[in-house]
């Protein structure tokens, strides 16, 4: 068995060496052609099968690539949407801060900007938490304003933050007057989150819907002329001592993000700093 195998190997080696030698002498054309008769048709068939298989494979890969592209593009679109939202948000913040800065510069008072970091919006208490506290020399009853108007007052000062009682808080009341008629009164918060202007009936004859109500400056807590809101409805109670008017706040307390704290200086009328509100 082994001898037969060795003999076969010897014969094969001999044939190969002869073939190689013939080729080197340029005489192996016949052998090559004879083999090509066998190999060429097989190769043709295999090439076709291969091409078909690769075609199917290529289609599958294309499909997978399309799916991957689709996923990638969806992610990209999502990312760009988020980016666009972020840009819009930044733009809005930019505008808000510009308005706040403009107000800060126009006010004849010392102010400090603060950021709203929390909101309490239950019916019992309506307050905002601002990121300025004892460390920033904030004191109790500091007036808090926004470019649109009055926000409220500081009622609690902590180490790094303060609580702002918003105008709509049921315990809030501010001395005010109507700009057009100079009707004096008090703006009070209501549990349902609205504002009302309480005034002496004898003074209220001239009130109109849309009139601007501003701080009166009386009492020394708030400077005069800070917009509070506009008269929405008038509740004329006839012979009663007091009459009431519903006021739409100038500031949207639910959306406010930055405020100014009025830190000091002589209390005076600041109406000129609030443009177009009267």
């Amino acid at each position: 068995m082994r001898i037969r195998a060795l003999a076969l190997l010897g014969i094969i080696a001999g044939v190969c060496l002869v073939l190689l030698t013939l080729q080197m002498r340029g005489r192996a054309g016949l052998a090559s052609e004879a083999l090509a008769v066998v190999t060429t048709p097989v190769q043709t068939v295999l090439a076709r099968i291969n091409r078909a298989t690769l075609g199917v494979w290529g289609t599958y890969r294309d499909w997978k690539n399309v799916r991957a592209d689709n996923r990638r593009l969806r992610d990209e679109a999502q990312r760009l949407r988020v980016e666009a939202l972020r840009v819009t948000e930044t733009d809005a913040e930019n505008q808000r801060l510009r308005r706040l800065l403009a107000l800060k510069e126009s006010l004849p008072l010392e102010t400090m900007a603060g950021e709203i970091i929390a909101r309490e919006w239950g019916g019992w208490v309506r307050s905002l938490t601002v990121n300025r506290g004892r460390g920033d020399s904030v004191v109790r009853l500091t007036a808090v304003i926004a470019p649109e108007g009055l926000v409220g007052r500081i009622i609690d000062v902590r180490a790094g933050s303060s609580i702002v009682q918003v105008l709509t808080d049921p315990a809030s009341n501010v001395g005010a007057h109507v700009v057009r008629s100079r009707t004096p009164g008090i703006v009070e918060g209501e549990p349902r989150g609205t504002l009302r202007f309480k005034y002496m009936a004898r003074d209220g004859g001239g009130l109109r819907v849309g009139d601007m109500v501003v701080t009166s400056g009386l009492g020394g807590l708030f400077p005069g002329g800070i917009p509070i809101g506009r008269i929405r409805t008038i509740d004329d109670r006839g012979a009663a001592l007091f009459s009431y008017a519903q006021v739409t706040p100038a500031v949207d307390f639910a959306r406010i993000d930055e405020v100014l704290l009025l830190m000091g200086g002589a209390v005076r009328d600041v109406a000129a700093s609030f443009k177009g509100d009267g």
């Binding site: 082994r2 190997l9 094969i12 073939l19 190689l20 080729q23 090509a36 066998v38």
Partner: protein
């Protein structure tokens, strides 16, 4: 069985040039005929291995347009040698199969290079080993082991079928 063997040997030799490119990874293609020859020699002995190596190598030479007889001779020698010593090797373990096939591929490459030197083959030895023989040997090792495992699995399944 004979048909299968004929397809394996002839197909392996010719398919290498046609289908082998589809298995290319980083410009390295496996030597399918060599793997087929090794597998056949392990199962059928030196005589068959030698003959299969010759036929597969010759067809490979013809199909690839190389010098007729180079791969025919080297693969015949490989088939013979594996057929001779195969019985003493524990080839059922992938840890033997992979390095074994890598080593065989390298030896076959060396033999081919040595043979071609007789005919003034110009390629430098170092580059040939680095970029052709060794990468292909590694590929052969892993592909061959996978084929062995696939064949073993197929035989197990066949054995279970009533």
């Amino acid at each position: 069985m004979r048909t299968f063997l004929a397809i394996a040997v002839l197909g392996g030799g010719v398919a290498h040039a046609t289908v082998g490119s589809a298995l290319r990874i980083a410009d390295v293609a496996p030597d399918i005929p060599l793997i087929v020859v090794v597998l056949l020699a392990l199962r059928r002995g030196p005589e068959f291995g030698c003959g299969a190596g010759f036929v597969a190598g010759l067809l490979q030479d013809a199909a690839t347009g190389g010098l007729l007889g180079v791969q025919a001779l080297t693969k015949a020698v490989v088939g013979f040698a594996i057929g001779m010593i195969g019985g003493r090797l524990r080839v059922s373990q992938p840890l033997v199969q992979i390095p074994g096939l890598v080593l065989l591929s390298v030896l076959e490459g060396l033999a081919r290079f040595g043979l071609l030197q007789l005919f003034h083959f110009p390629a430098p030895f170092g580059e040939l080993m680095t970029y052709v023989v060794l990468p292909q040997a590694l590929y052969n090792g892993f592909l061959g082991a996978a084929l062995v495992l696939a064949l073993a699995w197929a035989e197990t399944v066949k054995g279970r079928t009533p």
